[in-house]
């Protein structure tokens, strides 16, 4: 086959080397420091959880992937890592596998695979196990337990389908004195304001990967600089959440914690940087992106302050995901030179 001398094609003529595989691979790279940090914090159990959930996601993707090998585009790996990072480190491995299966099967394969999913698969998986196992997903262990690299948390190897053992017994002899509640729960039920430096160093009780706001922001910065992530979504989420929290603090400072607490606690950072920015589930129009981010930020604060749950990031992002086609539709930019149609 000879190549024609003159190529006649429509624009674009210069193609940048950004493929799905390349972008996804860099997101995986950006997630690895978070995984490493959570393993350092929580030890072997966190490692086992991350490996199991990712393996379950990859296995499910293989099972449902119709068009050849869809494992090599890294997207299932990202779902697995992100999902594992949103789960408590003491989460039993079999439940982690269920979460991974639900994430890919319900969140992705059902809609036709990568690029067709309406909702963020990792959050679908988490929402499923949140509804199925409400106790296990709100059982927390403290970070930096002394023997974390020598032993597993006893709930990790719960027999499949069985209830995990009570963690309080183990916690009593392994560590002395710990409150099994996240800063958000402590604020909601005990009106206790966790100091900000606890969040920055990862000393607060939380899910495996949401403890270090600084590390998450650095990883996000890497992605944003490489152009693999829409920084406007992250900015919109964080700014709108901070503004909403600030408004409530002005109204009643004794009851509502300030913007800093809202930004640093729970999964807001992880959600804003890695989940809200999922390309398939966020709007594409310039104005739509800001609206989408603002919806997430405001809803998160609203659910945290007035909802029954302590954390609202997951549902806020899922709701905004569902709204994003609509947002795209109403924020279509005016075509250059086009005249606005007059109403008949």
């Amino acid at each position: 086959m000879t190549t024609p001398r003159i190529e006649l094609r429509a624009a674009p003529h210069l193609v940048k080397g950004a493929s799905v595989e390349r972008i996804m691979f860099h997101v995986v790279l950006a997630l690895l420091p978070l995984c490493a940090f959570s393993v350092w914090q929580y030890g072997l159990s966190a490692l086992a959880l991350i490996v199991t959930v990712t393996a379950a996601c990859l296995g499910t993707e293989r099972l449902f992937g119709r068009a050849g090998n869809t494992l090599s585009d890294w997207s299932a790996t990202i779902t697995g890592l992100l999902l594992a990072l949103t789960l408590p480190p003491s989460f039993p491995l079999w439940m982690g596998a269920v979460a991974g299966f639900a994430a890919i099967a319900l969140g992705k394969a059902l809609f036709g695979g990568l690029g067709f999913n309406v909702l963020n698969p990792a959050l679908v998986g988490r929402a499923f196990v949140q509804a199925a196992f409400p106790v296990a997903i709100t059982t927390w262990v403290p970070a930096f337990a002394p023997g974390r690299f020598g032993e597993f948390i006893p709930t990790t190897f719960t027999t499949p389908l069985m209830t995990p053992p009570d963690i309080a017994v183990w916690a009593k002899h392994a560590l002395d004195g710990f409150t099994g509640a996240t800063p958000l729960a402590r604020w909601k039920f005990e009106t206790f304001f966790t100091p900000a430096q606890d969040f920055l160093t990862g000393a607060a009780t939380a899910s495996a990967g949401e403890t270090s706001a600084v590390l998450i922001l650095l990883c996000g910065l890497y992605l944003a600089l490489r152009g693999f992530m829409d920084w406007r979504i992250t900015a919109a989420v964080l700014v709108s959440a901070a503004l909403t929290a600030w408004g409530f603090q002005l109204y009643d400072a004794a009851r509502y914690p300030g913007p800093l607490f809202v930004l640093l606690s729970g999964g807001l950072m992880l959600g804003a940087v890695f989940m809200a920015t999922d390309m398939a589930t966020s709007p594409v129009t310039p104005r739509g992106v800001w609206i989408y981010g603002a919806i997430i930020g405001v809803l998160t604060v609203m659910i945290r302050y007035f909802g029954g749950l302590t954390e609202g990031v997951m549902y806020a992002i899922l709701i905004a995901n569902a709204l994003s086609p609509l947002i795209d539709q109403v924020t279509q930019p005016r075509v250059f030179g086009a005249v606005k149609e007059k109403k008949a």
Binding site: A132, T158, T159, P164
Partner: protein, 214 residues
């Protein structure tokens, strides 16, 4: 039954509701009780049998009266006949088991408006002699019961670790709370529909002939 089609045999009439026109998995009718009462296998079977009874009895009566019911008021007549049998079944269940009656709640009375029954009355019983109408109704009722049991069984196994109240996994079983909540009904129904469509699509690939030959 499509007009002009050759008369189906009794066996075909019976099997129509169980497989080829299964009310739950093929026609996807009567979704309200299907999703609402199938939190356990026992509830599912009770609901299925109650519906079967109403279906068979009203199809028989409608088939017998098919030549004397005026066309203009046929729907009202069907509803009246169905409502009579629903009242019977309502009191019957109360007499047999109050626990089941409480678990099924309003859905027993709502059998009156179950579209499977009205659909069968309008599309089949009103045009068919009594024997065939009853055979078809029994098949449809059993098909509906099987469909409900398929949902209720799975939801009870995951949601409580039991089947018909017998513990399957011992006392340490971790219930999947979502399975006994409404979303669980949709998940399980979706999974069954997926399975049945997958089987159908495999059949279609294997035999180039149009479906409905066997």
């Amino acid at each position: 039954m499509i007009p002009g089609q050759k008369n189906p045999t009794n066996m075909e009439e019976f099997l129509e509701g169980i497989w080829k026109q299964n009310p739950v998995f093929v026609m996807v009718l009567g979704m309200c009780p299907t999703l609402a009462v199938t939190v356990s296998a026992m509830n599912a079977v009770s609901m299925g049998l109650a519906t079967t009874f109403v279906l068979v009895a009203s199809c028989l009566l409608i088939s017998l009266m098919r030549n004397i019911i005026p066309k203009e008021v046929r729907i009202a007549t069907y509803i009246l006949i169905i409502a009579t049998f629903v009242t019977v079944v309502d009191y019957l269940i109360q007499a047999i088991s109050l626990a089941v009656y409480d678990a099924l709640g309003a859905f027993i009375q709502l059998i009156v408006v179950n579209c499977i029954i009205l659909g069968r009355a309008e599309a089949h019983a009103s045009k068919t002699p009594p024997v065939k109408a009853v055979i078809n109704a029994v098949g449809m009722g059993l098909g509906f019961t099987i469909g409900l049991l398929a949902l209720g069984g799975v939801r009870e196994i995951f949601g409580a670790g039991k089947l018909f109240g017998f513990s399957l996994f011992g006392p340490d079983f971790q219930p999947w709370v979502v399975m006994v909540l409404p979303p669980g009904g949709f998940f399980v129904l979706g999974a069954w529909l997926l399975l049945f469509n997958w089987i159908d699509s495999r059949k279609a690939v294997k035999s180039p002939l149009p479906l409905g030959e066997g």
